[in-house]
């Protein structure tokens, strides 16, 4: 993988797609997210990193309401996240998500996994949905697996199916929640390659990951979180070469040590 930062050739527009303002979240009495402020512009590739338990997954899961925030404002593409089911559905249709454990549907074939949401949520005709799904399966380079079941694929292949499944809904934003953490080392690259391509096509991405190489190659901004707070936020070169806070320095020294 290139270690050079080549994110300069990817466009970021001025249009704000995600606006998080003074957001707080508790699990019971435990304050998981503290005063989060974050704006994301269209075309941005943001990498969120931090020690485990720092709230990074919870943060991105709040964006499509898999977790409910108790205070503050989250605005996705002009729609405010409230308890209104209509808004939640509208946002979920525009935001794709890829999970650490893939969360493919094991009782459906790869193709059916990909066509399910377009058919049942977008009311797309079955044939059209299958054509779209095959296009995306080709893009993630596994069209030949379309009729297999997820349980018959390797981890890397499953994760690529999961990415294709999300893309079939033509989302405007993609969230990645540690997409490579559950993979064997030799399969990480095939998934990262797909993600890099996606970034080059201008997809807005927020990615929780420990792949610092990916962050350097693709991200235009790196966010470091600890204990529910955003500690540091910078462009990748500055972030890695010239970290400001002590916690960031400690974290980087720990993950880059070996």
């Amino acid at each position: 993988m290139q270690s050079q930062n080549n994110s300069s050739n990817m466009q970021v527009s001025d249009e704000v797609v995600i606006n998080i303002k003074d957001m707080n979240k508790w699990y019971g009495n435990f304050h998981v997210l503290k005063d989060i402020n974050l704006t994301v512009n269209r075309g941005e590739r943001i990498v969120v990193c931090g020690p485990s338990g720092s709230g990074k997954s919870t943060l991105i899961r709040c964006i499509n309401r898999l977790e409910v925030h108790q205070q503050g404002l989250i605005d996705v593409d002009g729609i405010e996240l409230t308890n209104d089911v209509k808004n939640i559905d509208a946002i979920r249709r525009e935001v794709g998500m890829v999970f650490q454990h893939f969360n493919l549907f094991p009782h459906l074939t790869v193709l059916e996994n990909c066509t399910l949401a377009p058919i049942w949520v977008k009311k797309m005709p079955k044939k059209e949905a299958e054509e779209v799904a095959m296009q995306y399966l080709e893009r993630v380079r596994i069209p030949e697996q379309a009729s297999k079941f997820p349980g018959q694929l390797s981890g890397g292949q499953q994760q690529r199916v999961a990415i294709a499944r999300s893309l079939c809904m033509s989302p405007k934003i993609m969230l990645f929640d540690e997409p490579t953490s559950a993979l064997d080392p030799e399969m990480i690259k095939e998934v990262l390659d797909v993600m890099i391509e996606l970034a080059k096509e201008g997809m807005t991405m927020i990615c929780v990951t420990h792949e610092m190489g990916f962050a350097k190659t693709v991200a235009n901004r790196v966010i470091f979180m600890d204990e529910g707070q955003i500690i540091e936020e910078n462009e990748p070169n500055e972030f890695f070469d010239n970290p400001q806070s002590d916690r960031t320095k400690l974290f980087l020294s720990q993950i880059l040590a070996h």
Partner: protein, 411 residues
């Protein structure tokens, strides 16, 4: 070479595949490994073998070899120490139809034929239009079966009197066109009423068991979803319902349905006794079913919910398309277990004077013409065999469905 000197290993990695070693198979090896692999197991095997030798030959002898297959009561009386199958052949019509009017039994024949046809159709793997067949068997067939068994006479009368009343009063009733449409098949069939008190035998067993099976699965699914609901009141009501029905014996349910329930009805309101019993059995079974289904729901990974929600699937679609198919698949053994239990529990209707297969056989045994020592045993053996065949068929069917739904390794 010094002991701590390590030179590393480089392997060309071109070892050929070797055939697997000979497996120790064959009857002798199997017997040695499984029956006589130790003193204690050897003793147990010998005891079991002795027990089988002691019981099986006489049983087979009684049931088959020295049994009376032909002749009548006299032949059985002459040979009372073996099964008396002529008793079954002489009575099989009653065992099958109960006291159903003789001239109308063709109606049951047709229904049994449709039922057998439908079950075979659904059991064969490669049959086309399975979905429509399943819908037909689950939705249309029960309605058809009810009117064919009960007759269309009274339904026709009801429709005609309603229509006449509306015509006389000049009242506009929006459902009248529907009534007129329904009248056509009822009038064409023109089947005379056979009261449910005349239903009996294996037919009655099937009526109760199949109604219970068809009703308890959807009810059980709803109750299981209700119990897991985030809405407290729904969850509470479902839990109360489940625990109530699970907590009382089926015999008590049947007694309540027969004796107590009519006390609560206003005077003059008639509520068919068989229907009451069927509802009781169905609700009883649905409580068990609910807990089986809930077990399946609990086995579904949280990620499946999150994956569905992230794709924007609303709750009902998520449940219908993603969660339920997986949950039900996991609990097929439990579901079939409940079905089999339900099927056998139908024999309890005997105590509220409904004559199912067991009931009618028991009643026939009392016939003085057949007061032969072997007849009761033969009757009960016959009932046992019929029940075993039905239950084992369900077990085989469930195993086949499980194999068919197996989609590779789970993560």
């Amino acid at each position: 070479m010094a002991i701590n000197e390590y030179s590393g290993v480089v392997n060309a990695g071109d070892l050929p595949d070797k055939p697997a070693p000979m497996r120790t198979e064959g009857i002798v090896a199997w017997i040695r490994d499984n029956l006589f692999n130790g003193v204690f197991n050897s003793v147990l095997s010998l005891v079991a073998l002795a027990f089988l030798l002691y019981t099986i030959p006489p049983a087979l002898n009684w049931l088959v070899f020295s049994a009376n297959w032909t002749g009548g009561a006299d032949a059985c009386r002459a040979n009372p120490d073996a099964a008396c199958w002529p008793f079954v052949t002489a009575r099989w019509e009653q065992f099958l139809y109960g006291f159903y009017e003789k001239s109308e039994r063709w109606r049951i024949d047709i229904l049994l034929a449709i039922l057998a046809f439908g079950i075979v159709w659904l059991a064969i793997e490669k049959m086309p239009l399975k979905k429509y067949m399943a819908i037909f068997m689950l939705v249309i067939f029960p309605v058809l079966a009810f009117y064919m068994m009960f007759g269309t006479e009274s339904a026709l009368k009801g429709i005609d009197s309603t229509l006449a009343a509306h015509a006389a009063s000049g009242e506009f009733a929006p459902l009248d066109p529907l009534r007129k449409l329904l009248r056509i098949p009822f009038a064409a069939a023109d089947l005379k009423t056979v009261e449910t008190s005349q239903w009996g035998g294996f037919t009655l067993t099937l009526v109760i068991a199949l109604s219970g099976i068809v009703a308890s699965l959807p009810l059980g699914v709803l109750l299981a979803l209700g119990r897991r609901s985030k809405m407290k009141i729904i969850s509470l009501l479902s839990t109360i319902f489940i625990e109530f029905w699970r907590g009382i014996p089926l015999v008590a349910v049947l007694f309540m349905a027969t004796i107590m329930f009519p006390l609560f009805l206003p005077k003059g309101v008639h509520f068919d006794q068989l229907l009451r019993a069927v509802i009781g059995v169905a609700l009883f079974a649905s409580a068990y079913m609910a807990e089986v289904v809930r077990g399946g729901l609990q086995a579904i990974d949280k990620g499946q919910y999150e994956g569905s929600m992230a794709l924007g699937l609303p709750y009902t679609k998520m449940m219908r398309l993603i969660i339920m198919p997986q949950a039900l698949k996991i609990v097929i053994p439990g579901i079939v277990n409940t079905f089999i239990g339900l099927f056998k529990d139908t024999t309890l209707v005997l105590i509220i004077a409904l004559f199912d297969l067991l009931g009618i056989v028991q009643a026939s045994i009392a016939d003085p013409n057949w007061s032969i020592k072997s007849v009761p045993y033969t009757g009960y053996a016959f009932v046992a065999i019929v029940f075993w065949i039905c239950c084992y068929a369900m077990a085989i069917y469930s195993r086949r469905i499980e194999e068919k739904l197996h989609t590779g390794h789970k993560r």
